[in-house]
Amino acid sequence: MFNKDRWKEILEVLTSNWFRTILTAFGVFWGIFILIILLSAGKGLENGIMQDFGDIATNTMFMWSRTTTKTYKGLPKGRSFLFKTDDVQAIRDKVPNLRFISPRNQLGGFNGANNVVRGLKTGAYNVYGDYPEIIKQDPMTITSGRFLNYNDINEKRKIAIIGEGVKDGLYNRGEEVVGSYIKIQGVNFMVVGTYKKKSNDGDGEEGQKEIFVPFTSFSQAFNRGNDVGWMAITANDGTSITSIKDKIMSVVKENRKVHPDDQRAVGHFDLYEQFQRVQSLFGALRFIAYFVGILVLLSGVIGVSNIMLIVVKERTKEIGIRRALGEDPWSIKLQILMESIFLTIISGMAGITLGAMVIYAINSLLDMNGPVDMFANPSVSLSVVIGALAILIVSGLLAGFIPAQSAIKVRPIDALRTE
């Protein structure tokens, strides 16, 4: 099947009319090229947007309290309220399949007043009272020292973990950070570690300007009592937070004496839902890429099939001679099929190669000119390339099938009849 003579013949046939072969090949080449480019552009968009999500655990919701809009159990509407620490326990008890529940408190914020002092330097930073689990929900890399632990929580230690951005603002270059003290709204905290976060907003600078202290110490130092500002809740893998968020909210509503039907009293942001929405958008984009690419490819394949039919027609007499000399009809069929597959694969490979080169060029342009919003590292995976090759082989087979069939229908006697 794969002997030298067979290949020699395939090449002879395909090279006997270069111009026609190249025109035919172009259809398939173009189809696969479009497919690759569309898929990689989709991937680039996906990478760009996924970058904005950063490393954050996506099966997570954030939940905060607002004001009630319904009277309930004698309490008026328009009442503001705060979550309490026992709400956390209530959720933990009543809602299964939760991985982390992190109550959080917060000081400062965007454009806030300077709230942190160290010697002569001051700065405005977000200060969070947190539990150790927060590092798994909002991942960060500890660059020196350590993060929070439960001893810090239980003993209400006045310690802090500061971002690299805070360090740059409050310390001179080369100064020892771990073990030093900073004053947050007049309260001294000892710095025990520094962190760095992957960006989940544009340039990622805001993320480096945060300070984490133990939740309990925060409450004590800043007189928050049992108040909880908001919560970050992550569900177990395999259970989407979206599917259990109503249950969570009804637990806190009941605990805080809020009417069960009061939709406005508890605010939330469902990261998972957003993430899914984006994911399905990419699914749709991929579908469009395959749809368009394969349609273009199909017209190329039809072109190949057409040319192969013409080739068979032109070679009717030759096929007749070969059959008179005793060639097996199957061998002739195989010959036509192989010509078609070979042509398809070669032109497809050229399309894939050019596609890869264009992607490479775009990537190096992106590298040179810095990042672009919502677009990063367009690429196609190896599996897509293998998939494309499989599509090509199947296309080649399909393209060759009808011509091969018509080739073995040639009766030697009809082909040989002299005019």
């Binding site: 001679i321 070969r322 059959r323 005793g326 097996d328 030697p412 006697i413 040989l416 002299t418």
Partner: protein, 233 residues
């Protein structure tokens, strides 16, 4: 070698049926050199095609070297053609993008003879028809007589039991025709069975037996004194 009994063949032409062969009986022994003659449309090519398994008979029987030839599927027919028969056509029917040597080697290729052996054999047969130096030439670089000699070499390459030639000299001038007949006679001298369809009396008399067809029946079947072609070359 060849045994034909009550052979009928007709072609459908729309509603009409054209009865071409109307009950032929004859047999050909090994080593015979037979000319088939007859006017145009008398069914000579039809007969030869049936003998060559390129076409099927309607009625009667055909036995080739003791093997009954009937109801062959295409694969089987191809095998039999390859093993038993060599063809020479009026219009040569060489494959024009293959060199003389490759053309001669084709039947061996279909027998899956290894490349080296194939080429050696092809060269040997090209040598026998006197075209060794032309082995690498394409058919369109050869004269008509040379083409026909390549075709004869190709027909002989698979060492068939029977050589079937349909007007092998039809497209050649008389001198070249005699050269080709000389070749055919020499192949026959080696014991090969050969059938030659021809229009020309002088070519027919270079065979050993003449079968005359007319309107689909054999009107004459006679042995003749063979005229050697050599003397005219």
């Amino acid at each position: 070698m060849i045994e034909i009994k009550d052979l009928h063949k007709s072609y459908k032409m729309g509603n009409n049926k054209l009865h071409v062969l109307k009950g032929l009986n004859f047999s050909i022994a090994e080593g015979e050199l037979v000319a088939i003659m007859g006017s145009s449309g008398s069914g000579k090519s039809t007969l030869l095609n049936i003998l060559g398994m390129l076409d099927e008979l309607d009625e009667g029987s055909y036995t080739l070297d003791g093997v009954p030839i009937k109801n062959l599927n295409e694969t089987k027919a191809a095998q039999y053609r390859n093993k038993f028969l060599g063809f020479v056509f009026q219009s040569f029917n060489l494959i024009n993008y293959k060199s003389a040597m490759e053309n001669v080697a084709l039947p061996l290729y279909y027998q899956k003879v290894p490349r080296k052996e194939r080429e050696e054999k092809a060269l040997k047969y090209l040598g026998q028809v006197g075209l060794k130096e032309w082995a690498d030439h394409l058919p369109n670089e050869l004269s008509g007589g040379q083409k026909q000699r390549v075709a004869i070499a190709r027909a002989m390459a698979a060492e068939p039991k029977v050589l079937l030639a349909d007007e092998p000299t039809g497209a050649l001038d008389s001198k070249t025709s005699y050269e080709v007949m000389d070749l055919i006679q020499k192949i026959n001298d080696n014991g090969n069975t050969i059938l030659v369809v021809t229009h020309e009396e002088d070519i027919a008399h270079m065979c050993k037996r003449i079968v005359h067809l007319k309107d689909g029946v054999i009107v004459e079947d006679k042995m003749v004194e063979q005229v050697r072609a050599e003397q005219y070359v």
